[in-house]
Amino acid sequence: MRFAVEAYQNEYLPRGGTDVHAVLTVTATGDGADGGIARPSAIVLIIDSSGSMGWDNKLARAIEAAHAAIDQLRDGVMFAIVSGSHYASSVFPSTARGLVASTPGSRVAAKAAVAQLRATGGTAIGRWLDDARSRLAEHDGAIRQAILLTDGSDESETRDDLEAAVAACTGVFQCDCRGIGTDWRVDELRLVASTLLGTLDIVPRPDDMAGDFSAMIQRAMGKQAADVALRLWAPRHARVEFFKQVAPTLQDLTAHATAVDERTRDVPTGTWGDESRDYHLLVVVPPQEVGAEMLAARVSLIVDGAVASQSLVRAVWTDDLATSTRIDPQVAHYTGQAELASAIADGLAARADGDESTATTQLGRAAQLATETGHDATLRLLAGVVEIVDAGTGTVRLRRDVDRADEMALETRSTRTVRAKADG
């Protein structure tokens, strides 16, 4: 697997300027012919089997989805299936702990075991994660991932329990989360998915689940590199104001960074397949005299402990306003995307609090930004919550009868971004 990191920025700052923005594009490419040894995959599928899964055929659909996922497992992938209620129980392998190698026979047996799931009990997501962690912890060399499906809020344990479990899993495995129905809580699954570097989505229609699960398994098995970190160096007296992933989804990673030394910090990025991700960095530097130049940041990709690629973020002070006021198109694009996501979050929060005027303003702004940036998927989701009168001016009316699933889909997917069109 080869990695490249490239910086997009306008390095020119006006006199007294301090804010250095850059968008960093990291691209991973599979080795293909020159091969390296493929990293083994270890996957735990966590299926909610709490009592509420028995309603609306949800469990039956989850079983079908799990069957589709199991069918996708390549021979040799280590896997296990855990069902979750107010505790975790082993579905497959049935008695032993740990993981089992995928073979035609083990897949048949796993599907037979999953087919016998029954819906009963409460929901304690932290305990499910604990169970997955204990299985995956023994497979350090593998690319370790979990897929978690739930339909309810984490009612059988405290928020502290959940946070402690998530913290214990950090660095052990990556976890994609899916919420089915409308009784789960976006903030809880977002905590799990974002801390454990996975994806989050709503499954509004249970019929869609099988395809989604197959795709997740395919993606999980496509991962070839684990333990990829971005190392940020910034000079003395400079401050990393934020470091966000901005594509394919928006996620503030500033708090995920761990200090390597006084000027260097590492941000974990989880596992990589053939893919590309964008990051937005803001470094605040002490102003220098006009004509001066400095290195504002150095961004290195650390793959399995070694530097795989690096890119420089510079600052140059100038009196030429035409140069210093130009905003890099990539930076402008993602600034807009971030604004769109926060307008949606603020609008939905205001709506929930009954503050209709703020909700209307924010969701109107969101409709406007979504239109400007060609974010059609978000615009469609917005249309389920507000009636868009004029997207150009951000004029919207709140809808009275909003389908809860539409609202949750908007909340869940508001952090997805579209890539900047030009290449900088």
Binding site: S85, H86, Y87, A88, S89, S90, S94, T95, A96, A101, T103, P104, G105, S106, R107, V108, A109, K111, A112, A113, A115, Q116
Partner: protein, 289 residues
């Protein structure tokens, strides 16, 4: 095999109950304990289907029963284990295996066949003295039509899929130990160590809890064998040994059934041992990926 439940006294022809040791009319011993014909039963249908049921080395009689049949491309196998705490357990298992098997051969869906077996067991005449429970047995049944396999069960008799990759349990025991583990009350090790570990929670019999039949269907992923057995086998033969013996390409299904039984007897044979083996030929390639 068919249902020929003749319980009459050989001396006076008076009607007897299934759990009568002596004729209530003339006092003649009814030979309840000496059903020598069941001490060792071997059934083979060609090289692809075979079964063995053996009394074992400790028990006085064999309360397990087995049924195998083929019709066209369809193979049917049924294994039952009479519950020792129940009256006339040997009769319960015999009539259950035969009626479930007959129903499957006639094309009944698995859940209907299990229901037929349950109904038949309830017709076994017995004397409710309080010393024993109503006649009862476990069941595990297979219908394999050359493409798809359907397995139904109640209790702790098991089905395994065995291929080059190993042996895999397809059924989940209806047992106290398994339920404790599933309920999160105990670890697997603690539950297995408990005296109640093997108490079954589902069976065929008049006092059986009503529950939805446990039925699974699957398409075998390639060449392999399906093994049905009672706890007299799986308590003594580890899953790894089972995989090794069953995945012997040179041995026929009946030879494998006999080899598994010998292994259980060599390891103590403290219970009745019953095993049925059905070959699943390869050439089912579209299902392998």
């Amino acid at each position: 095999m068919s249902l020929d439940l003749d319980l009459s006294c050989p001396a006076c022809a008076a009607e007897a109950l299934a759990d009568d040791e002596f004729c209530e009319h003339c006092g003649t011993p009814l030979g309840l304990m000496d059903d020598a014909a069941r001490n060792h039963v071997e059934v083979r249908i060609g090289s692809g289907v075979g079964a063995v049921s053996d009394r074992g080395l400790v028990h006085r009689r064999n309360e397990d029963a087995v049924f195998v049949a083929t019709t066209g491309a369809v193979a049917v196998a049924v294994v039952c284990d009479g519950v020792s705490a129940s009256a006339a357990a040997h009769v319960a298992s015999a009539v259950a295996a035969a009626s479930v098997g007959d129903a499957l051969v006639e094309g009944a869906p698995m859940s209907d066949a299990l229901a037929a077996g349950a109904a038949t067991v309830q017709t076994v005449p017995w004397m409710a003295t309080g010393a024993k429970d109503a006649p009862s047995c476990t069941v595990v049944a297979l219908r394999w039509d050359g493409v798809d396999a359907t397995i139904g069960w109640a209790g702790d008799s098991r089905a395994y899929w065995v291929d080059a990759g190993g042996a895999w349990g397809l059924t989940i025991d209806h047992s106290w130990a398994r339920e404790q583990v599933d309920a999160g009350v105990m670890t697997s090790a603690d539950a297995e160590a408990d005296g109640r570990a093997h108490a079954i929670t589902r069976w065929l019999g008049a006092d059986a809890p009503t529950a939805e039949a446990a039925v699974i269907a699957f398409r075998p992923p390639g060449a392999g064998r399906i093994v049905l057995c009672t706890d007299g086998l799986w308590n003594l033969v580890t899953i790894d040994s089972l995989a090794r013996v069953v995945h012997d390409a040179d041995a026929t299904a009946p030879a494998v059934a006999a080899a598994l039984t010998r292994l259980a007897l060599a390891r103590g044979g403290h219970d009745n041992v019953t095993v049925a083996v059905v070959d699943v030929p390869g050439g089912n390639e579209e299902a392998t990926t």
